[in-house]
Symmetry: C2
Subunit: 353 residues, 2 copies
DNA sequence: CTTAGCACTCAAAGGCGTTGAGTGCTAACG
DNA sequence: CGTTAGCACTCAACGCCTTTGAGTGCTAAG
């Protein structure tokens, strides 16, 4: 059967309305919409066709229609009118992003929170690196008797520190020596490059501070390994409860439990060779429990050999247009922010609903 | 009327059972309990008395009884058999705490998560300082052209750093000078002690690095002020959904929304002159929405002029014995951990359910 | 003082008819 | 030939009623 323009229009109207109301939509409701020039009977015929073609579904005989996964797919791919952010929304998002952050893991959490706030849905935020980081420089700073601060400057411009307490006293000169040795031997090395032999060499050159080497190196390896891992955060799970389809607590709970870092760990893999915004409708993606759920994810580059991903999880009928608009905007803002760390440039918003 | 031993025993049995089942308990159920030597009729009489005395309530005529707030209060204060943590639970908590943390805000979040996990309820974690912190030492470390790292060692042994990028090149000597000046003039000062005059003095002494002063001082003041604020985190809100009384989504949602940092900001004030574990039953505490909820909080000292608080939020019928046991254990573990930062000593657990 | 017995109460659960939104089909219309 | 009015049909949702059974208070006997 042919998918005529009129059929498309009807389908779009149905999805639009369903997104708003979360209830099966009937022929009459569509026929009464402002720019729909046909009667309910005609719409009914079209709806019957669309159902036959697999774009709509009927919960039961005497109910209206709801979009099928295929229907959503078509909607997302072709039919969706893009949603422009209103001035107000733009402003809010910009303001939020202004509060700058430094450490990646913190940032990921913060971003997840912001996205969740902006969409009123549970949100996921991921930052992953293409390659691992190395230490660019070690600094050891004496901090009173028996303790010192280890500062690691990493190749990706992150800075990590740790206060280390030790039972013995350390002279400043010894620390200086140790720092010099570390900088000479262990910089620019991936964690697996720090071999026992190398460690042995450092120990022997370190003189009085040799006893500090293990704890310093341990922390360093830990940190580097942590940098390799992708950072992921989930926020706003409770917002799922505002959606009518999750009034059923058991359902809500089932989904909530699969909204944690572990369960979603395969998401980055799925998005691997995607770019821009992806809409994963219902059964398309692997996470078991998320059957009647959709995930909208946007991937973006943030330089330094890293890319970020933000996304939201919601009912399949969620307002894709709105959500994708906001996500894209967010992604763009974040990209810009990373390009110029301390002065996020924000795109101009357009006012319109 | 006299509160006889038998009445107490009946009351305890009722609360115990109600805690387990979340359903009104009837006379028969109590009479059938293993060490209850009286018939249901006798129990009924006692229950009638307890109701008259205000310790029990009846949702409707032909239903069993549920404890009133006064009943819970009596239970918590006198009747509760203390719950010893099983080996297994002890082990889990210890293991979790072993993973050491440094920054207070991170730690607070982590602790909230752990407590929530351990109790299967939403948890709150607070760390607050009696007095503000000051900077013990400034360090400026060159990190490539046009950027450097500012490291602040605070009086409470926290270390904070920030990578600062600037358009102009800075010589290492200039940084050294600036650091010396900062250390000479701005250490041991509360944020409000950093006056414009002082700032002016620093600027003039700083030579080539004068342009860096504002950004450095800004960050410093920010950090100090942040240290003053009490850190609070809430975790595991979703766990509320496992409780039968929150099967009603609206109810659950209402409570969830008041489970954020802002809404709970007056909690520390309420706990101010309490020490040890406090059980706030139902109407006793101020947070509006939390009417039919209880909050169990434990306050503990963690040295460095700080104290911590951990607590959980749950239905009034929650298993106080279990919850308070776990909280106390946690609090003790945390205290010890802070006393000896890198080697948390854990109390011995006793196996028993 | 304790307990068996009994009449009473009332929320919860199940059965049942009504309602109304929505459908598919057909026949008439432009 | 596409469009539309009309009509019979379907079925979840709703409200109403009855039944059920857990639980109570009271009384009288042990």
């Amino acid at each position: 059967m042919e998918l005529t323009e009129r059929k498309k229009k009807v389908l779009r109207s149905i999805v639009d309305l369903y997104i708003r109301t979360a209830e099966p939509v009937g022929s009459k409701a569509i026929a009464e919409m402002p720019d729909m020039k046909y009667s309910s009977a005609t719409i009914r015929n079209e709806m019957a066709d669309l159902t036959a073609m697999g774009y709509l579904e009927q919960p039961h005989t005497s109910a209206g229609r709801i979009p099928s996964p295929a229907g959503y797919r078509l909607y997302v791919d072709e039919l969706m009118l893009d949603y422009r952010l209103s001035m107000d929304e733009t402003q809010k998002i910009s303001d939020a992003i202004e509060s700058k952050m430094q450490q990646v893991d913190r940032m990921v959490e913060k971003v997840a929170k912001l996205v969740s706030q902006a969409t009123d849905l549970p949100a996921i935020s991921v930052a992953s690196r293409h390659g691992g980081a190395t230490v660019k420089r070690f600094e050891l700073i004496l901090a009173g008797s028996g303790s010192f601060i280890l500062v690691l400057m990493l190749s990706n411009d992150e800075v990590v520190n740790k206060l280390i307490k030790l039972p013995l006293d350390i002279a400043e000169a010894d620390l200086k020596l140790l720092a010099a040795v570390l900088n000479a031997t262990l910089t620019e090395l991936p964690p697996e490059g720090i071999t026992p032999e190398l460690l042995d060499r450092v120990m022997r050159s370190a003189g009085a501070a040799a006893s500090l080497v293990p704890v310093v190196v341990d922390f360093t390896c830990d940190t580097l390994r942590k940098q390799e891992r992708t950072n992921m955060a989930v926020a706003g799970q409770m917002r799922l409860l505002t959606q009518p389809e999750y009034r059923d607590i058991d359902k809500a709970q089932r989904i909530m439990t699969s909204l944690d870092e572990e369960s979603l760990s395969n998401l980055p893999a799925i998005m691997q060779n995607a770019n821009g915004t992806q809409v994963l409708v219902g059964p398309e993606h692997v996470a078991q429990e998320l059957k009647d759920t959709s995930v909208v994810m946007t991937k973006f580059d943030i330089g330094d050999g890293m890319h970020g991903m933000i996304g939201v999880v919601g009912p399949t009928r969620m307002d894709y247009a709105k959500v994708t608009a906001r996500l894209s905007y967010f992604a763009e803002s974040l990209s810009k922010m990373f390009a110029k760390p301390d002065k996020p440039q924000l795109p101009e918003g357009d006012k319109e609903n």
